[in-house]
Symmetry: C2
Subunit: 144 residues, 2 copies
Amino acid sequence: MDMDKYAVLLKTKGLKVTSPRVTVLDIFNQSQARHLSAEDVYKKVLEHEGDIGLATVYRVLTQFAEVGILVATNFETGKTTFELNEGGHHDHLVCLSCGSVVEFHDPDVEARQEEIAKKHGFKLINHSMSLYGLCSKPQCRESA
Amino acid sequence: MDMDKYAVLLKTKGLKVTSPRVTVLDIFNQSQARHLSAEDVYKKVLEHEGDIGLATVYRVLTQFAEVGILVATNFETGKTTFELNEGGHHDHLVCLSCGSVVEFHDPDVEARQEEIAKKHGFKLINHSMSLYGLCSKPQCRESA
DNA sequence: TTTGATGCAAATGTTTTGCATTGCA
DNA sequence: TGCAATGCAAAACATTTGCATCAAA
């Protein structure tokens, strides 16, 4: 089991090793979908793992994002989604029909963003770029 | 007064010319800040212009965005902001300290986005790119 | 007049918070 | 043991909706 790995990670971040936190880590590591909302995580908790209150799910997700275990992103859905922070920054392509998410990283764009910020006298801290469209699945293309 | 201009615009979009709709148009045209949330608009209504229900403000803003009079954007604030659609697409630089918003348009980035979408088999419909940082004001730079 | 627009209040969906209890360290 | 973490329910927001009334065309 990965429980020890989780425990080490949590301690590294200065967080106590508790059952809800380990469970949430496990959910993200097991999940097919990389991007999960608080509600998604809560549903998985109810289905498979122990029982954690929804409020705790929110608290854990927020904390994990603060310490860099997760990264939070706001798509146009009205709910925040979280994904494991695996180091490399990336942006998202989102299918407006089926909701699938593709990640990409483009150094050209990143460099250009720095230039743009500089030109306007801004010190760039972070950014979010999401491209919305229709993925290649036939049923998504037809929905146009 | 611009009332006639507003009436023409509304009719062009197939919308009845009603007092709430004219008021909202006027608010965006008078406003110092280009980007207003529903709550911002509602406050201005209460302060200056007649009285419109908050629900109507939401309905009008949503409709205006649908017909292209306004453009809706979701920053990381949890609330949707609207701005007049003056044709040219643009993206935003947002100051995390004072909240000021600078608009920019970068053809290089736009072109690159198309390439990225194509490479992943997506048909691009729209996108949102927001750069977050600190603007050049001393008090914002110090907040780091 | 007829259909669409509005106001109000209630409902919704997401996220946060207060507080008593529990459980790591 | 002590302080942080949790659960639960209530609160806080942002936004939407039902429905009776009102007004533009």
